[in-house]
């Protein structure tokens, strides 16, 4: 392949307060290649594509597109050069039709009125090209995530895309839908389109990409031809150390059952049964939409339970509200910690003590001395890095925010902790710390349920893994049986 370089970054640097998000990164993209961009959260992938798309200003370096060098991109410039980005969050207008979304902002002809007919027929052409059967007149809000994804791609294609950047495009898709998307990517590739494919799913990278570049902590690490590399090498490049180091070992052998879930239903889940022993970490696995987070929400009382029983310490309990769950020492570290776990405008101490603030009060008045003591204790125990206990949460890093969420749950003396995606949006070092903390907690006899879409992490941390598929139990796997393929089979319902 003597392909032409269509896009190249030269010594690009982007600085945020306290962090170098892009550290002198140089990287070439070739015409007609599928180039995977790999890296942990915080590796700088998003920053890189934002720089290319003109969503942020670079502090240094050059973006070279086609024939020209640019010090800064702007969204308009980027578009006019044929660069289109499909972000994780779709940029679609839900109450408008697929066709209208695709041609949003484009005038098909000179007439004053919108030419719906041409719009629809052109949309149909693109959909036919992809061999997909979506009605161009269908409203986007009525389409499945996969179909919406295709509308996004169609939107890019309609704009005569030369470089298509896809940020975690497979996240909302099922296995078969991912395959469909890959077919479309292959077609685009044959048309000479360069596809930059960002993902942390290694299987996909091997399936679709020609070359793969690994980034870590804002730095360029390496580029490999996909066919010349392997899983292990890529993981080592991403993590920067041997994988076995990442997951600490545990000492205690769990015996006593802490929580038992019997035929639990509600929130889209049906008939779920499993138990967790004190000191055990049970993983909850499944694809997006399999009902993992939904189950977590049921257990912590956020959503009403419709059927089944929950037994804690050998006794049946009723959970009707989050307060009930807290009373029974069940704590949740929510998936979306900013939206569900934290008060970002408030301080560290305020957040840590919030769930127990009533108990810290005498006649309604908060005992501020005790409050400070408790906050201090958890700050030290969890090694929360903050200049002061009054520091607003929004100014802390993702890892430290997660520690505050954990501190909140620990403050209520939870004996059963549900970690929903505990390492999402956290950098590698902090991840390791969270893992260590989880193991310490388990060693102290706390029962842990860990929800994660990161197979690597589930396999490394769990004693057992419960697999969900479409809201039902698909199976339960003991540590001895762990193998990644087995899970994918279970989770996609093909087993």
């Amino acid at each position: 392949m003597d392909a032409r370089v269509v896009l190249s970054l030269k010594n690009t640097t982007k600085r945020y307060p306290g962090v170098l998000a892009l550290n002198n990164v140089s990287l070439d993209f070739l015409e007609g290649e599928v180039h995977a961009l790999l890296g942990e959260n915080g590796a700088g992938k998003s920053t890189l594509i934002k720089a290319v798309a003109g969503a942020i200003d670079l502090d240094g370096g050059i973006v070279h597109v086609g024939e020209h060098d640019y010090k800064q991109m702007t969204p308009h410039l980027s578009r006019s050069l044929g660069i289109e980005v499909i972000y994780q969050e779709f940029n679609l207008v839900p109450p408008m039709s697929a066709a209208e979304n695709i041609f949003l902002g484009d005038r098909i002809n000179k007439s004053l009125l919108v030419d719906f007919k041409t719009m629809k027929s052109k949309t149909k052409e693109i959909f036919d090209l992809f061999k997909v059967d979506i009605d161009p007149g269908a409203l986007v809000q009525n389409l499945s995530p996969a179909q919406q994804q295709i509308v996004e791609i169609a939107k890019a294609v309609s704009k005569n895309v030369k470089i298509l950047i896809m940020d975690e495009p497979s996240a909302p898709l099922s296995v078969s839908e991912v395959d469909r998307m890959f077919e479309i990517i292959q077609q685009l590739k044959q048309k000479g389109v360069t596809v930059v494919y960002i993902s942390h799913r290694l299987e996909e990278v091997f399936k679709i990409s020609d070359r793969v570049t690994v980034m870590r902590d804002g730095r360029y690490v390496a580029t490999r031809l996909t066919k010349d590399t392997n899983r292990k090498e890529l993981i080592n490049l991403m993590v920067g150390r041997e994988l076995t180091e990442v997951y600490p070992s545990r000492t205690i052998i769990p015996t006593e059952t802490a929580i038992e879930i019997k035929n639990l239903s509600g929130n889209g889940d049906k008939d779920i049964s499993f138990s967790v022993k004190k000191g055990e970490i049970v993983g909850l696995s499944g694809l997006v939409g399999s009902g993992r987070t939904e189950l977590a929400m049921l257990l912590c009382g956020a959503v009403p339970i419709e059927g089944g029983e929950i037994w804690v310490n050998g006794k049946p309990i009723k959970i009707k509200s989050p307060a009930d769950a807290i009373k029974h020492k069940i704590g949740l570290l929510p998936e979306d910690r900013k939206a569900h776990g934290l008060f970002l405008e408030m301080g560290v101490k305020w957040n840590i003590c919030f769930p127990i603030i009533r108990g810290l009060s005498k006649n309604g008045v908060v005992d501020r001395k005790k409050e400070t003591q408790i906050a201090k204790k958890y700050k030290e125990q969890l090694d929360i890095k903050t200049p002061s206990l009054e520091q607003q949460l929004k100014n802390l890093s993702g890892g430290n925010q997660q520690k505050v969420v954990l501190a909140k749950s620990l403050a209520t003396e939870s004996s059963i902790l549900i970690f929903d995606e505990p390492t999402r949006g956290i950098d590698v070092g902090a991840k390791q710390e969270i893992y260590k903390l989880m193991c310490t907690l388990a060693n102290n006899g706390i029962a842990i349920i860990m929800v994660s879409c990161d197979m690597e992490e589930l396999l490394g941390m769990s004693d057992r893994i419960v697999v969900l598929c479409e809201g039902k139990m698909a199976g339960e796997v003991k540590k001895e049986q762990f193998s990644q393929d087995y899970f994918l089979d279970l989770a996609s319902g093909t087993h």
């Binding site: 945020y16 307060p17 989050p322 307060a323 569900h340 776990g341 934290l342 408030m346 309604g364 908060v366």
Partner: protein
């Protein structure tokens, strides 16, 4: 803003924060200095006393509204609640000959009930409080007008005069009440767990719910507090006017909201201090008072007050979008 050195933007942020915290106070001090030069009658003990008494009514109500606002809601019906409770209180005492000692608690109970109705509607209908209280405002006001039946209700007992017209030492009674309400409000908001819940409710309702806070009960309680405090204002205002009129308290929510927003209470909830609120109230009071001293026609006063509200909200939004931009910039950094 392009390629600004990091320390500069940090400095900018810090100044912005300090500005935001003390801007209301600086505006107030600026206005006071300005008007004491412009009008020799402004900085006199007599005028100051009048000024503070003038604002005390709105200030008391504003404390109630602030509780609702910090909790993420809004109450547009307080003026109408005052119209309603004020008329009922006047009728009870003037026509029913019910002694104040009995009539006042009934009035407070009525105000509390009106707040309770607001709160229950908000949680049952699950409609934004803005719309709920816009509706109840019309209803409460309408009932007040119906009950009043276009009468100017006079013949209130003389013993009732003390609340609006009396003095405790040199300080007018309404000002004393304002101080007490403000101190209690501040104490509750900053020192009690209930106060924490209020901020949590406005700051992140879902997080508060997951932390075990009974969200619906909190919302109702906040509207009840607001209704109760509004009826205190109704008592004081009736005593001050000393005749039951349907114009009493009408539109007071405008001053309360303006004051709250001026004083840094966020429209989005989760933010606000009594100190800021009182500063905001005083700004409005100083503007009103100075324009009266300068015998500005009422209409001009409306223009100025409206402009002040826009500036206040504009400032709030400006700070918010700026914050949002900073947050967006930080997200990938933490990745």
């Amino acid at each position: 803003m392009k390629n600004q050195p990091a320390f500069l933007s940090n400095l900018g942020g810090k100044i912005g924060l300090t500005m935001r915290k003390y801007a209301p106070l600086m505006i107030l001090i600026g206005l006071v200095i300005l008007f004491s030069f412009l009008s020799p009658n402004f900085m006199t003990a007599y005028n100051i006393r009048i000024l503070v008494r003038q604002v005390s009514f709105a200030a008391i109500s504003a404390v109630g509204v602030m509780f609702v606002m910090i909790g993420g809601g809004i109450d547009l019906s307080i003026g109408s609640q005052i119209v309603f409770t004020n008329i009922v209180l006047a009728i009870m005492m003037a026509y029913g000959k019910i002694p104040p000692i009995l009539a006042i608690p009934i009035c407070l109970l009525l105000g509390t009930t009106l707040g309770l109705i607001n709160g229950l509607l908000v949680i049952k209908l699950k409609i934004h409080p803005l719309i709920i209280t816009l509706g109840t405002a019309q209803i409460y006001k309408g009932i007040g007008f119906i009950v009043a039946n276009s009468r100017n209700i006079i013949g209130l007992p003389d013993s009732f005069r003390v609340f609006g017209q009396g003095y405790l030492g040199p300080i007018p009674v309404p000002v004393c009440v304002m101080i007490v309400v403000a101190l209690i409000g501040s104490f509750v908001l900053t020192r009690t767990y209930f106060g924490r819940y209020v901020f949590a409710l406005g700051g992140n309702e879902e997080a508060a719910r997951l932390a075990g806070v009974n969200i619906n009960r909190m919302k109702v309680i906040l509207f009840v507090i607001c209704g109760f405090i509004s009826s205190i204002t109704a008592v004081l205002l009736l005593s001050r006017v000393f005749a039951g009129q349907t114009t009493t308290g009408l539109g007071i929510e405008f001053d309360c909201l303006t004051a709250a927003l001026l004083g840094g209470v966020s429209f989005k909830g989760g933010e606000g201090t009594i100190f800021g609120l009182i500063t905001g109230v005083l700004i409005i009071g100083v503007l009103n008072n100075a324009m009266q001293l300068a015998s500005f026609p009422d209409f001009y006063q409306n223009v100025v007050k409206g402009a002040v509200l826009l500036i206040a909200v504009g400032f709030d939004v400006y700070q918010k979008t700026r914050k949002a931009r900073e947050t967006i910039a930080r997200v990938p950094a933490q990745g």
